[in-house]
Symmetry: C2
Subunit: 133 residues, 2 copies
Amino acid sequence: MCKTEQKKFRQSKHRDRILELLRSTDTHPTADWLYEQIKKEFPQLSLGTVYRNLTVLIDMGLVKKIHFGSTFDRFEANTEPHYHLICELCGKILDFEMPIYHDLNTQATQLTGFTVHHHKLEFFGVCEDCKIK
Amino acid sequence: MCKTEQKKFRQSKHRDRILELLRSTDTHPTADWLYEQIKKEFPQLSLGTVYRNLTVLIDMGLVKKIHFGSTFDRFEANTEPHYHLICELCGKILDFEMPIYHDLNTQATQLTGFTVHHHKLEFFGVCEDCKIK
DNA sequence: GTCCGTGCAAAAGCTTTGCAGCCTT
DNA sequence: AAGGCTGCAAAGCTTTTGCACGGAC
């Protein structure tokens, strides 16, 4: 939670695997999905460990937590600033490789008393697959 | 949940009051805050009723649910499309009366296979009050 | 040896739901 | 009278946490 608090992290197979899995997918998985996948390799894995390691990875700056309308959190290893596309029919979430509009921050700062540092932009629509159906 | 399902709604003092309260504030309250306020007038009010009425009001299109990083939901009666400003220090959420950039949708549609209908844009920074401190 | 990582289970926090009775239409 | 609305309490779901043990350094 607190990035300034310096902690020494040790190596952990579970943590390595979680990061590897997150990096190998673009599906923005939930903690439970990661748990189910890694449980196949380490059957005694517990969900609490997944959550704890995700928290550590976020502290390390290697993973980001993303919230959508859903009741559960999703995680991604793409820590570069980027926007998301969400399909309103199938719920799929895609990374959107569009340049970041930094001037939105400037405009928002000028129009308000806020000093705006960054923004979050999400697009909602219908993906290619769902359009076909 | 389903806006197409036609239901006949009856009058309810609690529901009226919830809507009135939501319309009279710009603080994007939580269900619990509404509950605490209205409980002062109707002491036997239950939190379940607040949630049920919020769901009904959302179905009616009079209220919107908004999610942020927090673990709980917030609600607002401003159903016009608008952006939000969030103060990273005090957590305050402000409506941002900036014109909607409809062309962002057009650009996103052109750059991807998605048909984009709308977008959600949130600005994060430091509000005037917190800058003073 | 120190102290972080882990499994297990319990707890926490917010939201939903079942039920029986009340109230609106 | 029909069926939505309500209080109460229990359940649901995701996430966090306490504890004791095992493992990394």
